[in-house]
């Protein structure tokens, strides 16, 4: 009688371990997919930038340095290696783009140009997509980490080889600051 009881408890434990393992594997794949989504959106952004810069170049001769800083930031972001490096360089690119979009507001010819407006929409859309892809990644990574760390899953998670996922954070102090845009130049 006692032996049967022990067997039942053991079987229940094994079933529970299998279930939580499968659950964690599913979540880990979601997290990986979320991470790749960010890459997809970043790639889109890199492809869009040359078009935008070419479209505004003619009307924004005075803003040479704004335009070159965008192109330089893009070139740097393309060569980024590893998540931390990428996060920093993409952050700088975001800042340069934000500056360009803000400065472009000062040019009436640009503001009324439909193709430029379309490009601006594309660009702010892409910026948003990058942001939302990160938000989604952080959401599911947090859920994944919580699932590993709560009791009793925490008993099996580490022995089954699960590691907490890294959250996407802004590491540079400069990136945390609100970008300063100088609107006095015309």
């Amino acid at each position: 009688m006692f032996a049967i009881g022990v067997l039942i408890v053991l079987a229940a434990l094994v079933l529970w371990a299998i279930a939580s393992y499968n659950h964690l594997v599913g979540m880990r794949n979601q997290v990986l997919n979320g991470w790749r989504q960010i890459d997809v959106q970043l790639k889109r952004r890199h492809d869009l930038i040359p078009n935008l810069v070419n479209a505004v170049r003619g009307s924004m001769d005075f803003e040479r340095d704004t335009l070159t800083s965008v192109m330089e930031a893009r070139a740097k972001a393309l060569t980024a290696s590893g998540p931390a490096d990428a996060a920093q360089k993409e952050g700088q690119l975001s800042q340069a783009l934000g500056r360009l979009l803000a400065v472009a507001e000062n040019y009436p010819t640009l503001k009324s140009n439909d193709s430029v407006k379309m490009l601006q929409e594309e660009l702010s859309g892409t910026e948003n997509k990058v942001g939302f892809a990160r938000q989604f990644y952080n959401d599911i990574a947090t859920r994944f980490n919580t699932a590993q760390q709560v009791f009793p899953a925490t008993l099996v998670a580490s022995s089954l080889g699960f590691k907490p996922a890294e959250l996407f954070e802004i590491t540079e102090q400069a990136d945390r600051d609100v970008p300063v845009v100088d609107l006095s130049r015309k």
């Binding site: 979601q30 959106q41 939302f132």
Partner: protein, 312 residues
Amino acid sequence: MLAFVAFLVFLGFGFDTFYMGMSGGYVPVGSVVALGVGSVSALTSYFHGDRAVLLAAGAQPLADVAASATDADKLKLRQLDNIVDEMAIAAGLPRPRVYVVPDPDPNAFATGRDPAHASLAVTRGLIDALDREELQGVVAHEMSHIRNLDVRVMTVVAALVGGVALLSDWARRGMMWGGGSRRRDDDRRDGGGVAGIVLFVLWLIAVMLAPLIAQALAMLVSRKREFLADASGAELTRNPIGLADALEKIESAVAPTRAINRGSAHLCIADPLGRPVNAREGFWSDLFASHPPMSARIAALKEMAFEDGRRR
């Protein structure tokens, strides 16, 4: 939801006991038929409901509308396209198909049985009236309906309401025609005693009120899901004010959305019929409004924004 099923079973049970009575024996004919009819109508609307709703609203695919648009218009449509992409990414769902309904009143709805078969439709008026942030809020609200499987929930609810209405209709017809069987019931109830009579009276009242009660329960579910979609929409955009502003604009355009009919009202962001019952608070609105009062929704969203601001 459980209350619903219980109510349906109670109706079916009474139908069996009092009409089929002796002749029906132990087979619950009424319940089985009601369940069968309910399932068929539920399955049909489950698999084809989205197409029917879109067709009825005269919705056109976004790509078709964009192909024949002016340049300024193309920009707005492109914006909508991007916003849907953004919200699909934020929700981690596949991109739904996007439709435009040619109606000047601002409104939007989502349909489809699961995220992989979802469609999202916005009216012309919504695209024209809202700015980017507001449009994002509305799309996030609809995306939340898709993510929370609200279309499925409301399809089941609608099928149950239909089942209840059908059953109570049959019961009333049966009462008019069933003189003969009632005499047999009387004979039997002599043995049944007071309990049988009490149950019969209760059941009679339930039959009379059935369609009303079913409707009230359905609307209760609908209002809960609206609040939920507002909240999880704000969770997607992290910007409750965008949706709050959009709701204010939608509310100020009081004209009913003609293109969207009564059957799909619960899928819309705002009641397309412009019924005054949805604007008020109080007993009757609590019973029969498909949407919570706009002011309550806007207040809830603003509260979220306030909490958000304090945490930072």
